[in-house]
Amino acid sequence: MIPAVGYRFWRVDPDDAWTRGRLQSPVAETLWPPLESLSAECQTRPGLRLARAGLHRTEEDRVSPEPGCSCGIYAYHDIVPMTRALREEPFMFGGAVLCWGRVVIHPEGLRAQHVRPLALCRPESPIVQQRTAVLLDEVTKEYAIPLLDLKDLVAYASEFGASYKPEPSQPARRGLDRVRDALSLRRIVRRLGKAIGG
């Protein structure tokens, strides 16, 4: 089984001397270590909105991500939701990641145990490109990853792993299958009836 490829975004705060040049998870505020993979840790606690079944971090035999919890390192299967999020906040940058270990698959993305960045994506807007050029140069050097145009990101990432996006469910098809099953059941009953009745 080959590693999973996903797409996500990070915040890079140019005004923070401590985190400058480092990728930061926008929700958990975790700093991603350069040249290493990041491993998931459950940070759910009582009262936290995202905590569902959570609180498994005290159980030694359980690892993050837990299917019933909201923990893990998040990534989308596609680039579209990633780019949507980038437009909402400045100094938010998108990119591709490689995921392995325990991976919980959702229809829209995945939650992984171990993740490392593969590439960053150059902002689409020329104005943003100009404003962030120096910062992105620092980040990509720090993590030893390339800065790619959005159109090249998927092709580059697929060199390292595969998408684990589930096949979309087809309710119309399922309905047809049910009708077909019912018809064939009726046919079987009819044939049985004929066989028994002569």
């Binding site: 975004f9 929700v27 040249l35 392995w100 270990g101 698959i105 229809p107």
Partner: protein
């Protein structure tokens, strides 16, 4: 970042084979010395 849908499956993926993030620096291979051809004297 958060998902609204329920998980559909859980998989275990082995760690990928480690690969260097940067190409290792290599010293240029020494070029072959040209062998001296012994001067032959006409018989």
């Amino acid at each position: 970042m958060g998902f609204t849908s329920k998980p559909v499956r859980v998989i275990e993926i082995p760690e990928p084979a480690s690969e260097p993030l940067l190409a290792p620096e290599r010293e240029p291979e020494p070029s072959r010395r040209e062998e001296k051809v012994p001067a032959t004297t006409p018989a």
